[in-house]
């Protein structure tokens, strides 16, 4: 082996990446060539220097709990994905459901006249049953998407129906009963922390890749409305640190939430500059780390 060939693979030899045969040939050459042996020593010395540089610095690592809450917060502000995933199947299901409904109407139409006389007593029975929902009590509620409006519901209620249809109707009414608003019963401190972590995450994303997130102004609109509420609560409680953080955050959220669909580069740049100047991301991080402890 000559020096040129040796120097080409001497690094691989040092890293132990050569085959046994090739390594043997390099070792033989190094024994007989002082110049190449010096280069090998050089690489060895370099490695000791790099080992010092490679010492791990002390970083301000987040705790896993903080990262986990960031993931949760991210999930919480993008709940639209599953609905979108089901959208195509709803498109297929709607015509199928219409066909089934028409068939049911056609089959039960001749029986309708006969069953009308039986219904009042059965309706009363159902209404008296424990846990039954009082009809007409929730007409003021806005119907959920895909549910009939209160006016239509009223018409349906007065219409005669079969026993099985009536039972289905009552079951549907029960399922409409509004559930408890869990948000209201949450720990207010935890809600604020989650909000601050969400804001931190989104602001970081905005700062690092504003072109990706500039169009997701809806997220910032949600954050903004929550921020207003939490800031008012903080003022009412006299919680000055929380109030300060939320007050600093709010103008930035307003700016991003009000970005037009096709925001100009100048608009986006001025917001990222504001984020940088106010050091809001660091402020949020410090706040969440301090209060998480």
């Amino acid at each position: 082996m000559n020096c040129k060939a040796c120097l080409k693979i001497i690094g691989e030899y040092f890293d132990g990446e050569l085959s046994e045969r090739m390594a043997g040939r390099v070792a033989d050459h190094l024994e007989s060539c002082p110049a190449c042996a010096h280069t090998y020593e050089q690489i060895q010395y370099e490695q000791t220097v790099y080992a010092r540089v490679g010492q791990q610095l002390e970083f301000n690592h987040p705790r896993w709990e903080t990262v986990r809450s960031t993931i949760d917060a991210e999930k919480a502000i993008s709940p639209a994905t599953p609905a979108r995933r089901w959208f195509p199947s709803i498109q297929i299901a709607a015509p199928v459901a219409a066909v089934v409904l028409i068939s049911i109407v056609l089959v039960f139409a001749p029986l309708r006249q006969k069953s009308t006389s039986e219904i009042p007593s059965q309706r009363a029975e159902i209404a008296l049953a424990p846990g039954a929902v009082a009809t007409g009590s929730d007409t003021s509620l806005t119907p959920p998407a895909g549910q009939p409006s209160p006016v239509i519901k009223e018409k349906i209620k007065t219409r005669p129906r079969t026993v099985s249809a009536e039972r289905k109707f009552v079951a549907a009414k029960r399922s409409e009963t509004p559930s408890f608003d869990v948000e209201k019963f949450r720990d207010p401190q935890a809600t604020t922390l989650a909000h601050i972590e969400q804001s931190q995450m989104l602001l970081r994303s905005f700062r690092n890749a504003p072109e990706d997130i500039a169009f997701e102004t809806q997220r910032f609109q949600k954050l903004l409305s929550r921020n207003v509420l939490l800031r008012c609560e903080a003022i009412a409680k006299g919680n000055l640190p929380e109030e300060e953080v939320l007050t600093t955050l709010e103008p930035i959220l307003i700016d991003i939430a009000n970005l037009p669909d096709r925001a100009s580069k100048e608009d986006v740049r001025s917001i990222t500059e504001t984020i940088r100047k106010t050091e809001i991301v660091a402020m949020l991080q410090v706040y969440s780390q301090t209060n998480n402890r």
Binding site: H38, V49, V53, L57, E58, V67, R68, I71
Partner: protein
């Protein structure tokens, strides 16, 4: 220590805080492979252990690539957020370390691809270097050490992205060429070539600091 312990040491090369290996069962429970398997089956505690185990080496790797401490911390956090969300994509539990470095490589690349005006300015973080302490050296030695480290870190930023990544993974993190190829997606030939050139460039940049007297 039997074969199992040896396997652990190999698979946990990046681990800087290995616990004592005093029994095969205990050692196996704490192996990265086992943690990966448990995390994939929904054990959150296992993922938190993975996080504790890899957050330092991953952050250091990112720091070597971006040269700024706070950005490295942000990108490391992003790496673990993505890892947690995509645990199902980990096909080989034995390659957890490679997989995590692969995610961090993507995160780094995305950040480096941002136009300059859209990302925070990057400067070699000298303050971080100055905070390094080597108590085994005297004041003069410490000064030289810090200077050398500063010069090396600045030289590192002069390498192109691919060379810096390969150099960092090999020289600082001691990954094998095969592992580097898996992490970066480069061919083995490219890994060898980039490493060779990176070493040459570093040697040229550091010049007098790396001279060995004959």
């Amino acid at each position: 220590m039997g074969q199992l312990a040896m396997r652990l040491i190999k698979s946990d090369r990046a681990d800087t805080r290995q616990g004592p290996i005093d029994g095969t069962d205990v050692a196996f429970i704490n192996s990265s492979e086992d943690l990966a398997r448990r995390a994939r089956s929904g054990d959150e505690e296992a993922f938190s252990l993975i996080f504790d185990r890899f957050i330092r080496p991953i952050t250091s790797f990112i720091y070597e690539m971006v040269g700024n401490r706070s950005i490295a911390e942000e990108l490391a956090q992003e790496t673990f957020v993505r890892a947690y969300k995509n645990l199902d994509a980990l096909r080989d539990d034995g390659k957890l370390s490679t997989w995590l470095y692969g995610i961090s490589r993507n995160v780094i690349r995305e950040w480096l691809r941002l136009p300059h005006e859209k990302r925070s300015p990057v400067e070699v973080d000298d303050q971080a270097v100055l905070e390094l302490q080597d108590t085994q050296l005297g004041p003069d030695g410490q000064f030289m050490n810090k200077e050398l480290i500063g010069v090396t870190r600045r030289a590192l930023q002069l390498l192109n992205e691919d060379q810096r990544m390969v150099f960092s993974l090999r020289v600082f993190r001691q990954h094998s060429y095969q592992e580097i190829a898996e992490i970066t997606g480069f061919s083995l030939t490219k890994v060898k070539k980039d490493l060779f050139r990176a070493r040459e460039t570093m040697r040229r940049q550091l010049g007098p600091y790396l001279e060995v007297s004959r």
